[in-house]
Structures are given as C-alpha cells and as structure tokens.
Amino acid sequence: MNINWKWDMFFDAFPFILKGIGVTIGLTFACFLFALVFGFVWVILRRIKFKPINWLVTWTMEFIRSTPPLIQLFFIYYAWPMIPGIGVTLSSITCAILGLGIHFSTYIGEVYRSGIDSVDKGQWEASVALNYSTRQTWLKIILPQAIPPTIPMLGNYLIIMFKEVPLASTIGVVGILALAETYGAEHYRNLEAYTIVALIFLVLSYPSAILINKLERKMNRRFDKNAVMQESKGAVI
C-alpha cells in the first residue's frame, strides 16, 4: 500500500495552519505567566499554619494535580456556567488560560517551594540578627537565592505547557491544531495537516529544550562553589 502523500497539499496547508502559531504561542505564554504568578499564591497559602486552611490548600492542590487538565478545561468551559450563583460564561481563550494556568500553577508552586526550602536556615537567622522585617527577608535575602536555581525547572514546565496547549482546541481556541483539523476535514488531507502540526511543535520544542539544558548546566556551574572559586582565581591572578 502506498502512502497517499501530496507535497502540493502539504505546501498549501502549511501557511494556512501556521496562521494559528500566534495563538498557540501566545496562549502558552499567557498560561505560563498566569502559572508563575499563581504559583506564588500557592506558596503563600501553604505557609499558613492554621490547620484547617493548610489542610484545605494541600488537598485542593492535590485535587488539581490529580485530575487531567482536559477535564478541568471542560469543567470551566461547559460545567461552571451551569452552577447557579457563581457560574460565569467565559470566552474559550479565558477558560484556557484559567484552566491550564491553574493546573500548572500547582506544579510551579512546588518548584518555588523546593527552591525556598533549599535556602539554608542560617540565612533566615542572619536576617533576624540584622533586624530585617519578614518582608525584607523574603524580598532581599530568600527569594533572590531561591528563584534563580529553579529557572531551568521553570523552563521545562514552559515546554511541557507548550505541548499541552493544543488541549485548548477542544473548547474552541483556534491554534495550529484547530486549523489543522479544519484543513484536514475540508480537504481530506489529515496526513499532511497533522504532520505539519507535529513538525511545528518539534521545531519549537526541541531547540528550546536544548537551550534550557544549557541554561541548567550554566546554573549548576554558577551554584557550584568550587567552580566559582576556580573561575575567580583565574580572573584575579
């Protein structure tokens, strides 16, 4: 059996599908930004010592992480408007940002937390000894040490998110996947259409992954004290 592959259809479909790239990438960054900010909200909520709230927050996070993002999208888009009192109908793009953003914010909150936990206890104590306020301690001492080492991990989540964004096509966000569906259905050229989508994702994700890998190695070097020692010796002497 021969594969029914038509290059002319491929080149015809390509510009059509590529028109959705702005939406796909834009949505990725919007979701990511939302998750970056909301991740901090989780960190703050989790630090509340009051038991019932702590319990509630922990289980909410667990719940969000344990349910598929697709179901969360469907819930926000189709089910939420039907709840009397709090139900609101939102545009599909808003739903996508909310749904994917909240889902990934739980992971990103954990990344922040691991960064914060990795800061030595002595840093808090030194801040007390220098009479910093709690707020100053967070902003000047803890976060500047906690966040940079997490940047590669955050980058990984950006790529993972990029690959989850096509889920938004199920609630009507017209990115590259939705356009491919349209093209495939209209011209009966699913093979070419979906190959193009896969290629676009590959071309964008793979170099990004390499970039983040490099960044990670650079970060590790920076935080390896011996390496810093050697570098500086080379520079000073």
Partner: protein, 272 residues
C-alpha cells in the same frame, strides 16, 4: 567555703552601679520534652564581656539565641534595656510580642554565627551595606563608607567585591563580624564562632574579637570552646551545667577558687 562562694557571687558585677542592659528573669526553655534551661537568672551590664562555658547541651547557645529572638523562652522574661523582649502591653494587658515589638527591642543586638551565614548572592561589601540601608535607612554613601571602614578594620579591605564563596572560613567569619558591627549594636553575641574553622584559621578570628573587646563600649556574650581565649578576654565567666548557672565569677575566680566538681571536670578535659 560558703563565705568564699558568697563573696564570689557578689563580685560578679564588674560594672556595678550601672543598670543592666540585659536581664534574664527566671527563664525556662524546653524543646519538646527536653528542658534545656531551668530557671535562668542573669544580668549583663553595658560593656561587659561575658563568656558562657559548659558542656554541650548545657543551654549556652539557647541563652543567646533567645536574646536574638531566634528562640522563644517557654517561660520567664528577658529584659533588654528596660523593655520586656518577648512580651508587650496592649490595653493594659501583657500579650506575646509581635514582630514589630521584637524588631524594636532587638535593634541594639547583633550576632555572629558558627556557620557565618553570609548572604551568598551578595559581595562582601553588599553583605555589610544592605542592612544599614534597608533596616536603618542610612544613605547609600554613609553605609558604604562605614562598611568599607569596618571591612578594612577586620583586614579585608582588598576583598570588597569578592563573593563569600571566594573566601576562606576565617575570612568569612571576619566579614560576618564586620557585617554585625556596621549595625552598631550595644550587645554582640558570638555563637561558637570558631568551631567551624580549620585550626590554623582560628587565630585571625580571635584576633578580631580581641580588638573589638578592647574598644570596650559593647557588651559581648561569647559562647565558646576556646577556653584560654574566653578566660583571657572575659570580665566574667559563667559555667552552665544542666540548664542552670553552676558557677560564675572572674576568670581567676572560676579557674582557681571554685570547688564545683563539674566545673573542675569540665576544665580538666580542656587542659589535658
């Protein structure tokens, strides 16, 4: 003998007449089931150099950590310059201190730690400058000037733009002292500041402490295992054992005249 002990107890306030700058009043501290301090009563006077010695687990470090507000007493009061550190008054009632109160009272206290606790993301000059700017609202120029001066004093004037990771342990600890001194504390706490250092680096750190001590204005409380050094610079040596002050007095009193058996045992171990 009882006579002598009584006399000793009376001679323990070298700056007699002055008002104590720190008073511990019947302070208890437990960690879970373990009672570390069992009714501590201790006055520290302005400018006084106090050395806390004793076996590990005797509560030495806990005493200064409570004063730095790193540890909260289980009961009792710590009065700093006339103000109760861990309690405040509200509508005539005494309630646990909030952060604002703690910050107001602990402003005159500085501390140097066993593990330096320098800020690794800042140069050593920034390590010294940030607190005066952020906390004391000094101008950048003043803070910088005083920090440079202080770093020169501890012999690190040529390392201003280095990061802590580029320094030796002894140098780090000297930065930590400069950082604390820039805040102009009235009371300086030293928590086993030479314990984490290689033996050959201990000397340079003790040298700086000696210099600071000679200037005289600051009260200093040293928790230390450097026995000879403690005896050399301290106005008063306090021997803690099992959560209470078992003996105290001037170095010579504690060394030569005390008949406390536990103290003799403790000192014997350091001399052998």
């Amino acid at each position: 003998m009882a006579e002598l002990v009584k006399e000793m107890k009376q001679s323990i306030t070298p700056k007699r007449g002055a008002k104590p700058i720190v008073e511990y009043k019947d302070v208890y501290k437990s960690f879970g089931e373990v009672e570390v301090l069992k009714g501590l009563n201790l006055d520290i006077f302005p400018g006084e150099k106090v050395a806390l010695i004793g076996p590990s687990g005797s509560g030495k470090t806990t005493i200064i950590r409570m004063l730095m507000t790193l540890e909260q007493p289980t009961s009792g009061e710590i009065i700093v310059d006339g103000t109760d550190l861990w309690h405040m008054k509200k509508n005539g009632k005494t309630i646990p201190a909030n952060e604002k109160h703690l910050r107001e009272v602990r402003g005159d206290i500085g501390m140097v730690f066993q593990h330096f606790n320098l800020f690794p993301h800042m140069t050593i000059l920034e390590n010294c400058m940030t607190a005066p700017i952020q906390v004391k609202k000094e101008s950048k120029e003043t803070a910088r000037e005083r920090s440079v001066e202080m770093l020169e004093k501890v012999g690190l004037g040529d390392k201003l733009d280095n990061y802590p990771s580029q320094l030796s342990g002894g140098q780090k600890q000297r930065v930590a002292m400069a950082r604390a001194l820039v805040m102009r504390p009235k009371i300086m706490l030293f928590d086993e500041v030479t314990s984490a250092l290689d033996p050959e680096l201990v000397g340079e750190v003790l040298e700086v402490i000696r210099d600071i001590a000679e200037e005289g204005e600051m009260a200093m409380v040293l928790v230390t295992h450097e026995m000879d050094f403690a005896l050399e610079i301290a106005d008063r040596v306090i021997f803690l054992d099992d959560g209470v002050i078992a003996e105290q007095g001037s170095a010579s009193e504690v060394l030569e005249e005390s008949d406390n058996e536990r103290l003799q045992q403790f000192l014997y171990r350091f001399r052998s």
